[in-house]
Symmetry: C2
Subunit: 340 residues, 2 copies
């Protein structure tokens, strides 16, 4: 798999981005990562790693970078030679099968959404999926921000696309699908979710559809794919990440009182155990969220991604960029047309 990586996107780019690319191509001999961005700066980074497989790390120059605070659509139009648009251009022309960036989420999504010819056949609106932790393992939550005003049919399509993502990227066979709602009863929620519910019930997904999922239930993992509209999904995802940071921060303060009382050996082990636990629930482990419903793969990473996060994102991109993934989504959407 050949993947375009926006080397300039991310809080500390290009350092950790290039490092992540090197780790990824070392781990996967079939992967080539095209580093897109300021060629001088990228080459400086590459030179730090004498034994990097340079033949699988080509560089494509892009002279501009879209800042995190710029308005995406305006910035894309003004900065023609930006690293995100260049990366999408490589996918659009068939040179790569996936794009990855830790830069402006808005610009990454807008590049995909503005380019309808990149949509897979049958897809109404692409969606961003995220991984949510649960007692039964990872849950695919979507949409977390691509579409602020979806129709019931969109939510249904999210169920189809999320199932394919859960199966191929998260390794969950025949994943259960749930609808995020404010209660477990049938008639709960707003018009959008009530209509979406009806679509699921008469669709080929009906046998895997577990009905409404409340905020608390997300952590149970009873549904391994949970669909919602992009506004709620985005707020929820960020609050979930905030909860991990907040609670572990409070925990660290609380533990500090006790750790000084312990023999250093125990204190070290305990501290290490907690850090390991925190790492398990951080976004870095999952390497960014994919924009689903497009030809090829697009993985959107956190601005604060380190080399580990980029490496994981490239791994997921390689999976999601495979042709059969797109075919699975197409097939799933064609099988149904539940909206009458």
């Amino acid at each position: 798999m050949r993947i375009a990586l926006d080397a300039m996107g991310g809080d500390d780019a290009p350092g950790p981005i290039v490092e992540g690319a090197i780790q990824a191509v070392r781990a996967d001999p079939a992967m080539t990562v095209v580093l897109v961005g300021d060629q001088e700066r990228i080459r400086c980074e590459l030179e730090k790693y004498q034994d990097a497989p340079r033949d699988r790390l080509p560089v494509v120059h892009a002279s501009e970078v879209i800042g995190m605070d710029e308005k995406p659509v305006e910035a894309i139009r003004r900065k023609r030679d930006n690293s995100i648009s260049r990366s999408w251009g490589l996918m659009s022309s068939g040179d790569v099968g996936a794009v990855v960036s830790a830069g402006s989420t808005g610009a990454m999504v807008a590049s995909g959404l503005l380019n309808a010819k990149m949509y897979l056949p049958g897809v109404r609106r692409p969606a961003i999926a995220a991984v949510w932790p649960s007692r039964r393992g990872p849950v695919a939550l979507l949409d977390v921000g691509a579409n602020m005003a979806p129709k019931p049919e969109d939510l249904y399509q999210y169920g189809v696309m999320g199932s394919v993502y859960a199966q191929y990227a998260l390794g969950i066979d025949e994943p259960t699908v749930g609808l995020l709602n404010v209660g477990s009863e049938d008639d709960k929620g707003n018009e959008l979710v009530r209509e979406a519910r009806a679509l699921f019930l008469k669709s080929p997904l009906a046998s895997r559809f577990v009905g409404n999922v409340e905020g608390r239930d997300l952590y149970d993992g009873h549904a391994r794919v949970v669909v919602c509209e992009g506004f709620t999904g985005n707020v929820l995802l960020k609050a979930g990440e905030g909860a991990v940071e907040f609670l572990f921060g409070e925990l660290r303060t609380e533990m500090a009182k006790y750790l000084t009382l312990l023999p250093p050996e125990f204190a070290g082990r305990l501290g290490g155990g907690l850090e390991g636990l925190k790492a398990r629930y951080e976004y870095k482990e999952f390497g960014g969220g994919p924009l689903l419903g497009i030809r090829g793969a697009c993985i959107i990473c956190h601005g604060s991604s380190d080399a580990r996060a980029i490496k994981n994102a490239l791994r997921v991109a390689a999976i999601m960029g495979e042709e059969r993934i797109g075919q699975e989504i197409e097939k799933g959407l064609a099988a149904i047309a539940p909206a009458s």
Copy 2:
């Protein structure tokens, strides 16, 4: 303050409910709690506490109870003599200044929403407020489920009502107000939040309005009142509670590996410290969420409320039931009419 307490509402009612009432009247000599429900069962509970101030714990009989899974509006109509409707009846007739229940949330809210004559002058739609933990202390989040299809004007009113709640119940003077959104930029989100934002900016709240608040920012407490529509708020609140349960559960498993290695004295202190930390972020500390915008106070408690949660809810009810709170909300809403 005279408060009606649904003695039959809650997973283990009436035991912990009656116990909470006794604790509350002991703590506040000016409080009378009218215990509403099956008089035989309530009296049995009261008899366990020989020294309870029985003169401030009158009983009003109600022969029926609305179950947690019953459809609220149907159940209210079918079970005329249920403890929730009886409690609201006492407030409607002026006998009490507040109602508290750990029973069916839907029935508590429906009783309030169906009774428009209980709305404060100027209130378009009541909202449920919840307390969200942050690094700067409690944040008032609303609406968490009263209204699934609010207008921008409703969100603005939530800001006014939430400010009064934050000031009187949470002790925050001149609280900052934020709008839950998917990004910090002005034009982010959907039509609802963009229009609500415009209302805030030209209102008397403008000086305290801090703009958009993302899911992650909730924990920063930069805004001490955060408004959102009821669907997102409900999902978010339950996910936040789920996060505390989930992360502390994982933590307990992780810690168990280390605690056995420690001298029992240390293990006990550490375990106790963690339980204390968890308790700080549990809903029980805040005693339920109020339905704001009505004459008098209505506090909705968790089904799993214990005596501590009920005691705290009664304390908040006594504050929120004061006449000046209603007057403050009325004044706030009258001062503005920002919708042209």
